[in-house]
Amino acid sequence: MSGSSRTPRIPSARGRGGIVGLFLIAAIAAGCRLLLGRGIDADGGATTVVGLPEAVLLEIRVSTILAAATAGAALGLSGLAFQTLLRNPLASPWVLGVSSGAGFGLMLAMWLARLGGGAAMVGGMLLAGAGIPASAIGALLAISIVWMLSRRLGGFDPVGLVLCGVVTSATFGAGIMLLQHLVPSGVRGDLVGWMMGRIPELAPRWLLAVAGGSVGLVTIIGWRASSMLDAASLGDDEARSIGVPLEAMRRWLLVLGGGLAAIAVVLVGPIAFVGLLAPHAGRRLTGAGHRGVVLGTVLAGASMLLVADAVRQVVDLGGGRLPVGVLTALVGGPAFLGLLLQGRGRA
């Protein structure tokens, strides 16, 4: 075999076009967000301002842009990992209850930290690093449950998977409520903001670095493993027969997808639909090969949160800016139903 004329590797011309397009969208959204801000008008009211701001505000905006882009990319990659793992187009951190699991992990650690003694030490350790260990454990627990159920039942059809996710999510949600019930009432309000999802405007730099580094690392891993991911699109037996290490690959997908979901949850809370829709947008715009899909998903996920965050800078219905989770759900909900209908039509 000669190395000269191998089959054309993806991304194709269409894939490259899609990636460039998505990159431009992400860049434009980031640019808009950089120029869009909130200021005070002559009457002392809040208003939308356009333009480059002073240094302090610039820092806030850049930090917000990095947080939004990183969290969006992390959610997208996590969704892609779960969709590949479960061979199911509706899989995503939020649909599968992985976001709830991460939230439960966080709550559990907070509760432990309040107990005192050894429990407090464990809680404190889990809460180190903005709670990434706690939420990662919760996220991995949730995805492992879904994965084991899927194995036992010989796979899910898309709707069955959604049902399983709803139940997982509700169970962890109940766990969160139980823990809230156990902590002093004053603490209960703390999580309301987190549950709504928010993009931190001044996230600690180390957290942005960890999250950005993780997204970058997973992107590179996905890029390098793209031909394996492509080949794993075959049926299980066929994929094994051509030398795809399916079991190892799935372990990695589970761990990386769960880890990224946890990081996204720590950074922005349980934001819905971005993890579901970003891989679809990536696939639509870059074609079938995972080399393109991985990059496309990163860019699509980043774009989605950047656009949502830019839009909320200009929408104030009197109660301050709209929470970003409201925007993503308003757009993502109908899109999800569309995917559901499309799946039914194909079946």
Partner: protein
């Protein structure tokens, strides 16, 4: 070729799914240059046997060896380039084209020449559909695309495990596939194929293995195995000798049959 070397051999193969024993104590040997047809009623364990032989299902007991070396000891790439598998129902998610699906045959060795993909597609008669999405193909076309992938994967003298690629084809395509398989065998390939149709088995096989309830009821030369008598007992149906092998006489209800197709 004088005394052909055994390429793939299995011994004591047993597979249990929970309490159900799919196959028990099977022994198989596939020498280079020969085609072994596996026949049996539905659920007689053909697919389970083939999946074990292809190394995609780990048997409950027993071993499979490729060129004398247990399958599990082979490095991934070395095994994949010698042992190919065609599933009964090929699947491919995502929007990959037919040509891309064939190129996956070269996954373990880092890719495959575009000319080889084209050649393989021409061999199975799918060249005009090379750039169509795999998902648009009919079942028969998917099986032929998977056949092309196996051809690209294992090279001329490889071992090919084919799980019933003939049933969904029209007669012209059955004939094409038979010729493809025979040509490969002539080049030194060892082939094990599950076959439903006795006339196809007659045309393709050097040896046959008749399975009943997960156990061997005959293993030997095709001429002996494919007698109307044996097939009649295996399938619970009357067979007569015809010009292209034993032919079932349908619709006569000679023997009570519960689930035979």
């Amino acid at each position: 070729m004088t005394k052909a070397a055994v390429r793939l051999s299995a011994d004591g193969l047993t597979v249990r799914f929970g309490a159900v024993e799919a196959i028990a104590e099977l022994a198989v040997a596939a020498p280079a240059g020969r085609v072994l047809a596996v026949l049996g009623r539905n659920a007689s364990g053909k697919s389970t046997l083939l999946r074990c032989l292809a190394g995609v299902l780990t048997p409950t007991a027993g071993t499979v060896a490729l060129d004398g070396r247990p399958l599990k000891d082979w490095p991934r790439a070395g095994r994949a380039s010698r042992l190919g598998y065609l599933a009964q129902q090929p699947q491919l998610a995502g929007g990959f084209t037919v040509a891309e699906s064939v190129a996956f045959g070269g996954h373990a060795v880092g890719g495959v020449a575009a000319s080889a993909v084209g050649e393989a597609l021409a061999t199975v008669g799918l060249e005009p559909l090379a750039d169509r999405p795999f998902g648009d193909l009919s079942v028969g076309q998917r099986q032929r695309a998977a056949m092309a992938r196996v051809l690209v994967q294992v090279g001329a003298d490889g071992v090919m495990i084919l799980d019933e690629p003939f049933a969904a084809q029209d007669p012209g395509e059955v004939d094409r596939l038979i010729r493809v398989v025979r040509a490969r065998a002539a080049e030194g390939a060892a082939v094990i194929a599950a076959v439903h149709d006795a006339t196809v088995a007659h045309a393709i096989a050097d040896d046959v293995l008749l399975l009943d309830g997960g156990r061997v009821c005959f293993a030997g030369a095709a001429g002996d195995g494919l007698s109307p008598d044996r097939l009649g007992r295996l399938f619970g149906l009357d067979f007569v000798a015809g010009p292209s092998g034993p032919t079932p006489r349908f619709g006569l209800g000679i023997m009570p049959s519960d689930d035979s197709a």
